[in-house]
């Protein structure tokens, strides 16, 4: 077993625990590279089937390439696909900076979906290395009635024993690729032949490292136009991944406010 095999085996274990222990489970599909890997891992874990719904909380502002990708693979992979449309921006806290506000809108969309379908487990493709806050996450992270994350009072998690039972009204976020890094994602994508949205490859000296809404994600300078070149580039860089995300630069605490409100 090499490093990727070990990462994969751990993720599959987490996915299977979630499926065995949580009813009303769904995968959050943001259409980006990370959640595509999670979907792929689910197909591995369940031998070609994804035995729960796959939900896209749609802001309506993704790139056309992302929608095309979604529609194609939802069908090709036989996914039980659900699209949940976000409410209008006017319904969101106007004191937040613009990009954070847009993200908070997504929170509302997600909360609506949770209410509508009664989900008790949501699988999300976040990684500890994305930003400092996420480094604090657990594989199974309980969220309160209002979706909030109580960062300071997290249950201990060790020996692959996860918090799979929780009081009524709470749900859990499940993070099967928490232990992966950005370069792991790309190496695995290459090894497995997971389809990739073109926007990740360099065009006119720029590429997207991370894909969010069209108006708040920006390409970064790069000449990497193949998977190998992306991997080589990441090995050399020390620029953080989310450099191209507007929200991260708005305020030191915008992540934290969103997190506490259940956005991530």
């Amino acid at each position: 077993m090499n490093h990727l095999d070990e990462l994969e085996a751990e993720s599959i274990y987490v996915l299977r625990e979630a499926f065995a222990k949580l009813d009303r489970l769904a995968i959050l599909w943001s259409l980006g590279k990370d959640s595509n890997v999670v979907l792929w891992l689910a197909r591995k874990a369940f031998f070609g089937h994804v035995p729960f719904p796959v939900i896209h909380v749609d802001t309506g502002r993704k790139f056309p390439e992302m929608y095309a990708f979604r529609d194609r693979y939802a069908k090709e992979w036989g996914l039980r696909f659900i699209r949940e449309e976000c409410p209008p921006i006017e319904e969101v806290d106007p004191t937040l900076p613009p990009a954070a506000r847009a993200a908070a809108r997504k929170t509302l969309g997600l909360q609506n979906a949770i209410r509508k379908y009664g989900f008790r487990g949501l699988i999300a493709g976040i990684r500890r290395d994305e930003e400092a806050l996420r480094a604090k996450e657990r594989y199974f992270s309980p969220r309160g009635e209002d979706n909030s994350w109580n960062m300071k009072d997290q249950p201990p998690e060790f020996w692959n024993q996860y918090m799979t039972d929780f009081p009524p009204g709470t749900h859990v976020r499940v993070h099967p690729i928490l232990h992966w890094t950005e370069v792991d994602i790309w190496r695995y994508t290459k090894r497995e032949g997971i389809p990739v949205i073109d926007l990740y490859f360099s065009k006119d000296g720029k590429r997207y490292r991370s894909l969010g809404d069209m108006d708040i994600t920006f390409p970064v300078p790069s000449t990497a136009s193949t998977l190998d070149e992306i991997i080589a580039e990441l090995e050399a860089t020390r620029i953080p991944e989310r450099a191209g995300r507007a929200m991260d630069h708005e305020a030191e605490d915008s992540f934290e406010r969103l997190r506490a409100a259940g956005y991530m």
Partner: protein
């Protein structure tokens, strides 16, 4: 392109303020692992806020942490030396956050234990040392920090190091090195410090690079805890991760605690060119079996030789994280590998004082304490003593949804109970009743039997079963309906709705119905029982007395009736594996009686059934 080397997982522990976060910031900086501009940004931020720069800021990315001045949780940070990549898990020393330290340390392969040269060994230095030993972390290095505050004194270093060495020796932990450092000033981190020329040992980086990655236990006995059993397509796949050993196609394997033996037919994997012949420790796999035996989540797969032990009682060495103390007589949920069971604390053998490793008797273990307890379960568990197989020899206790303890299994003084169950099972002989079947029948005025109703949901099974029961009872029959409500809530309370559980549900109903028949009753069972194989098994249990009655209505009719709204839900995908929609119904081939409920009125159906019973069962 460099190849993918697995990062070594290390944890940094020690008393609060002894410099863990500082060391992390330092390591990241000195190995060139920080994003460009990070330190400058933090220095600028410190200046803006009018506070001195601290290396710990690198870690303290959370507002709340900066305000409170203590690191609150485990965080993972990556860096790389010339030799290999590392993941460091910062384990804060504040007492309240022991659970975070446990979370981090349990996942590590090696530990750095930090101690302040000026303050010397403190409460948490010892407690963390204790937990490292309990968590099974064997590679430990001690770093004596803040040497700048003791004028880089070799003498002071020697005394602090000696105190800790003696303590750790009591736990059987022998550190690979003791290094005098100044995390803040950068002494002995990367290279040797000129300010401590008396020290000849390795620098921190050299210590790290000298740690050995934990080997995967491929040479221990096979253990694969069953996570789940899947039937997404024609295959019935037993899924799990191999915790130790190796498994090959054709191997004869044993499931514990159910004690069933079977062969491995195949190892299943998705998106591989050919399915593998062998799988080893660390892999998450699925297997298919040579025979369709009933197995479920929580069992442990092993080879026939070297199986785990089976027991209802064991000794646990544990640390306690719960708000309420652990007390004798209390029950908790035990999680061990993929098994869950209720356990009761039968005794607390001793409570351990981690400050000097002394122990004393007690009737409770307080928060953040440690001790040795006897735990008892009602049903048999498969376990290993921790020293022979850690993955199946350690457990977590849960109370009010939260993990409150972690511990390791010792079987000292307790026998393997497997022998007991095996012998018990072969010792059973059918008991010859003193009362004959004929005598029972004569008293009742009718023969006993099983009226096995089968049919789709909504076909009318329950309604007709209850109506028939009322009618027959009025006519003087000993009659009883077995349905989901009275069986699921008691006898079969342990079963879910997966395919295996459904099969087991029907098997038990069949056995119970047969007992009723033998006791002279008419048992009416009203289960969908969609599979022929299951109904055949029920027929075998009751023999001659078994009457299969097909309560029939076409799917469209049942779906139109939909009395409980189940079909609608199933069509929406809210109910997986719903018979007739997403899971098959196999109609009976030669039922004793067919009741077409879509063609007859309820009264006509009931009349047919009553006549059938009167004809066959009345003496």
């Amino acid at each position: 392109m460099t190849t993918e080397i697995r990062p070594l997982k290390i944890v940094i522990v020690g008393h609060v303020d002894h410099g863990k976060s500082t060391l992390v910031g330092r390591l990241l900086h000195d190995t060139g692992s920080l994003p460009e501009g990070k330190v400058e940004a933090l220095r600028a931020m410190a200046e803006r806020r009018g506070m001195p720069f601290e290396w710990a800021f690198v870690m303290d990315a959370i507002q709340a942490e900066r305000d409170q001045g203590i690191t609150i949780d485990t965080a993972q940070i990556r860096f790389r030396t010339a030799r290999r990549p590392y993941v460091i898990i910062d384990a804060p020393g504040h007492k309240e956050f022991l659970r975070n330290m446990v979370t981090g340390a349990a996942a590590s392969e090696a530990a750095l234990l930090l101690v302040d040269a000026l303050e010397g060994v403190q409460e948490q230095s010892r407690r963390h040392g204790y937990l490292l030993s309990l968590l099974g972390i064997r590679q430990v290095a001690v770093l004596v920090n803040k040497m700048d505050l003791v004028a880089f004194s070799a003498d002071r270093f020697g005394r602090v190091a000696e105190e800790l060495r003696a303590y750790l020796a009591g736990l059987g932990v022998e550190p690979v090195a003791f290094v005098p450092i100044s995390a803040r000033e950068g002494d002995n981190i990367l290279a040797h410090s000129r300010r401590m020329s008396w020290y000849q040992g390795p620098s921190v980086i050299q210590v790290l690079d000298g740690f050995v990655p934990a080997p995967r236990p491929v040479d221990r006995p096979l253990r694969m805890p069953v996570q789940d059993v899947y039937k997404f397509d024609h295959r019935r796949i037993v899924a799990g991760r191999i915790e130790s050993g190796r498994l090959r196609v054709g191997d004869e394997i044993l499931f514990s605690p159910s004690n069933k033996t079977v062969r491995v037919k195949s190892i299943e994997m998705w998106n591989v060119s050919e399915s593998p012949e062998e799988a080893v420790a660390g892999q998450s796999i699925g297997i298919t079996l040579s025979e369709p035996i009933f197995v479920e989540r929580g069992e442990i797969v092993s080879h026939l030789e070297q199986p785990p032990m089976e027991t209802t009682v064991f000794r646990g060495r544990l640390f306690w994280l719960g708000e309420k103390p652990l007390e004798v007589g209390r029950s908790y949920t035990l999680k061990l590998a993929t098994t869950e069971a209720q356990v009761t604390v039968e005794a607390i053998e001793r409570v351990i004082d981690t400050s000097d490793l002394s122990s004393r008797p007690a009737d409770r273990i307080e928060r953040n304490g440690a001790g040795e307890v006897i735990l008892r379960t009602r049903r048999l568990l498969a376990v290993d003593p921790h020293e022979t197989n850690p993955a199946t020899g350690r457990f977590v206790l849960v109370e009010d949804y939260r993990p409150v303890a972690g511990g390791i299994v010792s079987m000292d003084g307790y026998p393997d109970q497997r022998r007991l169950v095996t012998v018990r099972a072969t010792n059973i002989h059918a008991v010859g009743h003193a009362v004959t079947r004929e005598a029972r029948h004569a008293r009742n005025g009718h023969r006993g039997g099983v009226l096995w109703f089968t049919g789709l949901s909504g076909a009318g099974k329950s309604t007709l079963a209850l109506a028939l029961e009322r009618e027959l009872f009025a006519r003087g029959y000993q009659v009883y309906v077995l349905d989901g409500d009275n069986i699921r809530s008691g006898l079969n309370a342990d079963l879910g709705f997966g395919p295996e559980d459904r099969a087991e549900n029907i098997r038990r109903v069949g056995e119970v119905a047969a007992l009723f028949a033998d006791a002279g009753f008419l048992a009416i069972s009203a289960f969908i029982s969609p599979y022929r194989a299951d109904r055949e098994r029920a027929r075998r249990a009751a023999g001659e007395a078994f009457h299969e009655i097909y309560i029939h209505a076409p799917l469209e009719v049942c779906e139109r009736r939909d009395p409980k709204g189940l079909y609608r839900k199933a069509r929406n995908g809210e109910i997986p594996e719903f018979t007739g929609i997403s899971s098959p119904y196999e109609p009976p081939e030669k039922p004793e009686l067919v009741i077409p409920t879509h063609e007859l009125s309820p009264e006509e159906c009931l009349a047919l059934l009553v006549r059938y019973v009167e004809d066959r069962f009345r003496l």
